[in-house]
């Protein structure tokens, strides 16, 4: 079985030698060095903010845990300088297949078009993702990552928070303008602020087994309802790097967790599924899950992100990916508030945008779970009807819900400027940027956005003279004499572009406003709104 994948040393920090009222103060302390906390720290550091990142452990954990990382997450990691490493190691996939019994019902492609830098998904063990993020943290001077630093108390003050941190050398205190709690589903910070974390508990148990084997299955997501090897329940098969395969089996609600987890009981089940027993176990875990979120993601000077703020069922890969979307949403806002280029009210939009996204993720993953585990006899009948109708009807296939995979939310946000022009396509305000190839085969819009500074950026389709833009924003010009070429016409099509069309893009790569023919005054107003000045 897999052991911990990386071990890090505790090191005493000079802050621990301070005594009495002499407490070190930092703009941001991030609690929890999982994928979300690490990514957030990197993002903030790249924006020039010093960050202290605390983690109560000193190693990267056992088991693969999250394995599916979305296109959106990869694009974010590109901005953090580690996307390519993730993709190089990961297993790229975009096709999913649904089986009922022994026969295939349905196949879907999550990215059926060309011209995107990143695939729909990669599968990568969470410990690899975390290890690469930790390496990246090591390259960034402004991040101070402290292992075996456990937060044991929190005091909220008017304009900062004070943390008590326990270490192998005893405890010390830290002051932070803002604390971001990325400390997972069992968040201790959440308990310290006394926040409720209520939601729906699902009774069905699921067994995860990571097995090592050489197999010829394609790199696709295979989902079975009522498979011959696991009658009456559902099953999922997914490839990871290093010849590891993720198998997810739905168990009966009354299954005995201890017995079910024993390798000698898991082995025959999986041998029936694979048709052979030439595999070794890497990791076995049994879980139940809940769908829930905090009412408010902000409590005084403490902001919550990732599993600490919201939990979903695993079907749909909406856990880690939505946590990373939290990080990209929060980092630029926190940076601007700390620099006083935006009012503190901008942070409220972190709560409003990301809690709405959490609601959407909970809704989607709850529907998937209900479809997999009907809660009444008639629900089971309706599901059976869908599965049988899917054999000969398109609508039946589309109604099968074996997990709706994570896509970025479209924010209904006070930061967006409502459309005033007519649009027949393209990303609306609140939507994330679709990628497109630009200026040759190797350059993509997502790359050009990074080169423009990952900040407020005007994406404009040339129309003779350039629009006068505010000084401190990036500019991406497509077409015309000095612009990037859109030889394939995909950027133009994906942005419903006409000469003069311009999109104002937020630092997290979401559309704030768009115009057919912007004036300087229109841009200034949209920019002020997007920066939280309204």
């Amino acid at each position: 079985m897999a052991q911990s994948k990386a071990q890090f040393g505790y090191r005493r920090h000079a802050d621990q030698d301070r005594t009495g009222g002499d407490v070190a103060q930092y703009p941001v302390v991030v609690v929890g060095a999982g994928p979300v906390g690490l990514s957030l720290a990197i993002d903030l550091a790249q924006r020039g903010q010093p960050v202290v990142l605390l983690d109560d452990a000193d190693r990267i954990g056992e088991g693969s845990r999250a394995i599916c990382f979305s296109k959106r997450s990869l694009e974010y990691w590109d901005r953090l300088g580690i996307g390519q490493r993730m993709v190089d190691k990961g297993v790229v996939w975009s096709v999913g297949k649904i089986f009922h019994g022994a026969s295939q019902l349905y196949q879907f492609n999550l990215l059926p078009e060309e011209g995107h830098k990143r695939p729909a998904f990669i599968n990568l063990q969470q410990f690899y993702a975390e290890a690469y993020l930790v390496d990246r943290v090591g390259e960034l001077v402004p991040i101070d990552l402290r292992w075996r630093n456990k937060v044991t108390a929190l005091e909220q003050r008017n304009d900062h928070a004070v943390l008590t941190v326990e270490t192998p050398d005893g405890s010390y205190r830290l002051r932070a303008n803002y604390v971001v709690a990325c400390d997972g589903a069992r968040s201790s910070l959440r308990q310290m602020v006394g926040a409720e974390f209520a939601g729906q508990v699902f009774e069905d148990q699921f067994l995860i087994a990571d097995v090592r084997m050489a197999a010829e299955f394609p790199t696709e997501r295979w989902f079975w309802f009522d498979p011959p090897f696991h009658a009456g329940r559902s099953a999922l098969l997914h490839k990871q790097p290093d010849d590891i395969w993720r198998i997810d089996l739905q168990l009966n609600p009354d299954a005995d967790p201890v017995a079910e987890k024993r390798p000698e009981n898991v082995r025959p089940r999986i041998a029936r599924m694979l048709g052979h027993d030439k595999f070794e176990f890497e990791w076995i875990s049994l879980y139940k899950f809940q769908c829930r979120r905090m009412d408010k993601f902000i409590h005084g000077r403490v902001l919550f992100a990732g599993d600490a703020a919201h939990q979903v069922s695993p079907f749909g890969a909406r856990g880690a990916n939505s946590g990373l979307e939290d990080a990209e949403n929060l980092a630029w806002k926190l940076d601007r508030v700390l620099r006083r280029t935006s009012p503190e009210a901008l942070l409220e939009t972190y709560h409003s945008e990301r809690s709405a996204a959490a609601d959407e993720n909970i809704r989607e993953s709850t529907r998937s779970t209900d479809f997999m585990a009907p809660t009444s006899r008639h629900e089971a009948r309706l599901r059976k009807a869908v599965l049988l109708l899917a054999r000969e009807t398109e609508f039946g296939k589309r109604m099968i819900n074996g997990g709706r995979l994570s896509v970025p939310s479209i924010y209904d946000s006070s930061l967006s400027t409502a459309d005033r022009d007519a649009w027949r396509g393209g990303p609306a305000p609140g939507a994330s940027l679709p990628d497109a190839p630009l200026g040759g085969e190797t350059a993509y819009l997502t790359e050009v956005f990074i080169k423009a500074g990952t900040r407020f950026t005007l994406l404009e389709f040339s129309n003779g003279a350039a629009v006068e833009t505010p000084d401190d924003i990036g500019v991406i010009r497509i077409g015309g004499k000095d612009g990037l070429s859109d030889a394939a016409g995909l950027a133009g099509a994906r942005y419903d572009a006409q000469p003069g069309t311009a999109y104002l893009v937020r630092p997290d790569g979401y559309v704030a406003a768009r115009f057919r023919h912007p004036t300087r005054a229109m841009l200034d107003a949209a920019l002020a709104r997007a920066a939280g000045h309204n």
Binding site: H378, R381, L382, K384, A385, V386, L388, L389, T393, F395, G396, M399
Partner: protein, 74 residues
């Protein structure tokens, strides 16, 4: 376009009869399965979530009213 509750069939008896006959000879379980499939097929044919919601609300209201009346009579 909301849910139509005016009479849409030229011969309503034919429509009622077609549904009844589909259930003839079926066990309750098989009838329930048939209804489940039928509901989904017809819902997709309507293809309008608001109309579907109105239909569900109407069906629920009628069935709940009827069972309350039954209880009062008992």
């Amino acid at each position: 376009m909301g849910l139509s509750t005016s009479s849409n069939f030229a011969k309503p008896d034919d429509a009622f009869r077609a549904v009844v006959e589909a259930h003839r000879g079926l066990s309750d379980e098989h009838s329930a399965e048939l209804d489940a499939a039928l509901v989904l097929i017809l819902a997709n044919h309507i293809g309008d979530i608001e109309v579907l919601r109105e239909a569900i609300a109407l069906a629920k209201r009628r069935m709940v009213d009827a069972s309350q009346q039954q209880q009062q009579q008992q």
